[in-house]
């Protein structure tokens, strides 16, 4: 609901101390074991039912995962993604009430190389997780982040969607039920990936150098999340998965949303935090855990023995103000303590947003960012924040403008803010001219914090080069092209994939 009135929330009065003898609000019989929200005590059984139902309701409501589809679960070992894995297990089990009908696989990205962990530590974590994964019986992939250095440039290009329209969902379910005859999907596949991590020392060194070239932790985190995303998509593509399941909880989504606002990712908010994200076209990310708070998940994992394996991240042992993401997280956590509706309010905001450029989720045919693969948000009108920063840079640096011999007279007649600003001639950083034009606003900010762009992985640089060449070619043949809006033959035959979030 929209908050129409100007109203400032007061911290509620201190809650009454929880009494021990309360009965469950659901079955009104058993004694309560957990208080999910203020005033809602649940017993063990009802809490479990509630938790499991929520997961299936989330998938059922959104209707994006088709029966028989291959779904890759991204499990980091943290509480939320471990809980997600358990939910999928529950949903596929023989006696499940409303069975899930997709065939799952697991991917674990080991970021130890970027965080500076030793190989022994990394192997220990990996073997702990392997034991967990093996017990599920699902196929799994242990992928060290170093492998991102070997991914092909095509990972940065949205592919055509192979997904059927959401309107045929019902028919697809019926068809599947008849064909499969209730046979359990996924059980047939019992392939196990090679144990251990396949890491080259030289690769770890280059990854480390890339991370070190970021002068701020904010940029380092952004960079790492881009690399992780690329590797996840690459893994999904190369093993034929068409869905990627991410374990973002409600609390995590709220932090991500506010951090994204602060990083200038307003245009990409819906994709970054929404239920489904089809920016890559053929591999759609879904976030089925985004209805659960971190607290609910912690309770569930504790009560039902869901194992989680924690590994240090970039922000481990850093202060609150070490990066924008970290600051946002501690800000929201602190606010949530005083105003318990903070997280859910922010989270609900994300449900009211959509991606820039209308309701079509497809990115094919438009220019996308080299790093985050979202539609570029930099070709905007004159009176915008983006333009105003370019004007400011122009006006405070005489070298930024192709000026006449006398700087003062040139300044007087300077056409700043007009057509010249915002083009490559005006950029303060001469080192990055060709990359900047290929990035969205926020990723430009991230790359500005890199001391050297040469350390970027090969697939990014070579894709950048080929895009730059293409646009140069296009410039040369510009006069002969009849339709300037649709001049990329790569996009022929591509049609926008349906955006499931709109239909739902």
């Amino acid at each position: 609901m929209c908050q129409v009135e100007e109203e400032y929330r007061e911290p509620p009065l201190a809650p009454a101390p929880p009494s021990v003898c309360k009965t469950c609000v659901k079955c009104k019989d058993a004694s309560a074991a957990v208080v999910v929200r203020a005033g809602d005590p649940y017993c063990r059984t009802c809490f479990k039912d509630y938790f499991i139902h929520k997961f299936r309701a989330m998938l059922g409501k959104n209707r994006v995962i088709f029966p028989g589809e291959k779904v890759l679960l991204a499990v980091s070992g943290g509480p939320s993604s471990s809980s997600m894995l358990r939910q999928v297990q529950e949903g596929l089990s023989q006696n499940a009430h409303k069975k899930l009908r997709f065939s799952p696989g697991i991917v674990y990205i080991d970021e130890g190389g970027a965080v500076g962990r030793s190989l022994e530590e990394r192997l220990r974590t990996a073997s702990e997780l392997q034991a967990v994964f093996r017990s599920t019986g699902f196929p799994f992939h242990m992928v060290p982040l170093e492998q991102v250095l070997d991914v092909p440039p095509s990972v940065l290009v949205p592919a055509a969607s192979s997904q059927p329209a959401a309107s045929v969902y019902k028919a697809a379910v019926d068809g599947f039920l008849q064909a499969a005859g209730g046979r359990r999907p996924g059980a047939a596949v019992q392939q196990q990936d090679a144990a251990g991590l396949d890491v080259l020392e030289a690769h770890t060194a280059s990854l480390q150098q890339l991370m070190d070239s970021a002068t701020s932790l904010t940029a380092r985190q952004e960079l790492l999340s881009s690399l992780r995303q690329h590797l996840l998509v690459h893994t999904a593509r190369s093993h034929g998965y068409s869905k990627l399941m991410l374990g973002d909880s409600c609390s995590r989504s709220a932090v991500k949303l506010l951090a994204a606002v602060c990083l200038g990712r307003g245009a990409q908010l819906a994709q970054d935090t929404g239920f489904s994200d089809s920016r890559y076209g053929d591999v759609v990310s879904v976030r089925p855990m985004r209805d659960y708070s971190a607290k609910e998940i912690a309770f569930y994992n504790h009560m039902f023995g869901v194992p989680s394996v924690l590994s240090p991240s970039l922000t481990t042992k850093t202060s609150d103000k070490s990066s924008i993401q970290q600051l946002t997280e501690s800000f929201i956590t602190r606010l949530q303590a005083d105003f318990p509706s903070t997280v859910s309010t922010i989270y609900r905001t994300s449900e009211k947003l959509q991606t820039a450029g209308g309701s079509s989720g497809g990115t094919a045919g438009t220019d996308t960012c080299l790093l985050c693969v979202c539609v570029l948000d930099t070709s905007v009108g004159n009176a915008t924040a983006f333009r105003s920063t370019l004007v400011s840079q122009c006006l405070s640096d005489s070298r930024a403008v192709p000026s006449g011999p006398d700087p003062v007279s040139a300044k007087q007649s300077r056409p700043c803010g007009g057509q010249q600003c915002g083009t490559r001639t005006c950029s303060a950083e001469d080192r990055t001219p060709d990359l900047k034009a290929l990035l969205c606003y926020s990723c430009q900010r991230t790359l500005r914090d890199l001391s050297s762009l040469d350390r970027l992985p090969h697939y990014i640089l070579s894709e950048a080069q080929s895009r730059a060449r293409r646009s140069q070619l296009r410039e040369e043949i510009r006069d002969f092209l009849l339709d300037h809006h649709d001049d990329d033959e790569d996009d022929e035959g591509l049609h926008s994939p349906p955006d499931p979030s709109v239909v739902a």
Binding site: C2, Y8, R9, T345, I346, S392, L395, D397, R445
Partner: protein
Amino acid sequence: MPVQCSSCREKRAVLKRPKTGHSLCKECFFWAFEEEVHQTIKAAELFKPGESVGIAASGGKDSTVLAHVMKLLNERYNYGLDLMLISVDEGITGYRDDSLETVKRNQQQYELPLKIVSYEELYGWTMDAIVKQVGLKNNCTFCGVFRRQALDRGAIMLKVDKICTGHNADDVAETVLMNVLRGDIARLRRCTAISTTSEGDGVVPRCKPLKYAYEKEIVLYAYFKKLDYFSTECIYSPNAYRGHARTFLKDLESIRSSSIIDIIHSGENLSVRDGVKMPVQGTCSRCGYISSQALCKSCVLLEGLNRGLPKLGIGKHHRLHDKLLSQQPLTEKEERKLKSVDF
């Protein structure tokens, strides 16, 4: 070694621009600051020649700098605008009476006509009297709602075509954050607009020429120009929730100075999903001012004050609007809820 100005490459730099990090000399900074405001005005086509424009003046740094820059640019670039100052006297002893003295001095320095509208003459209540009734909590709601309407009334008395306010980039970014935290999608969408569209009778279009100017640069500008401004926090101001957003924004700025502009960029590029319920703009059936409800907020607040039920306008009591409109008394139970809390 003295740092050289990165713009003229001749003089010694005296400051580092918070917005871009460049080191500039005084003259180049003045030029850049004024030129940027000019570019904003030009790019957004805020004014047309011949228009009369009211500058909302509080005597604080933002409005003082705004008045100074508007007068200067109007002459430098021949905008052809007829400028005047509009002030609102909320009736806060020890705060507004002092700052209005500053505005009166500005009026003489800039030779612009000045109109002061007071809460007392418009509503029959000063903020001092309101605080006496509602206490220190929530009094900003009254002040904010009343001021919006008071400015419009002042503008109509002066017959100006537009009002410009001194909202700076920090204010806009802070509002974006506030609206995300409150889940107010309607305001989130509107708050980054540089000017309001003509909303109907009784409402004068508003714009924010300083929208892209950093608060710190405004202070630097006022400091080096030695402008006469009033810098005291309002004595009734402790608005806790906005304070959280403000602290957060300052922390963000200290980590990455472009954060303020980055947040505005985010706000400008948000797009709201089709089908999300939005409030519909109508008019207040009592005073005719714009309102999304049957009664506008300021009429509800005023009614609350006059009935001795100050909490009537705090929070949502839409169900009571019909009763208020038909002048019916409220039930005892309803009244008990809306009286100020006794301690």
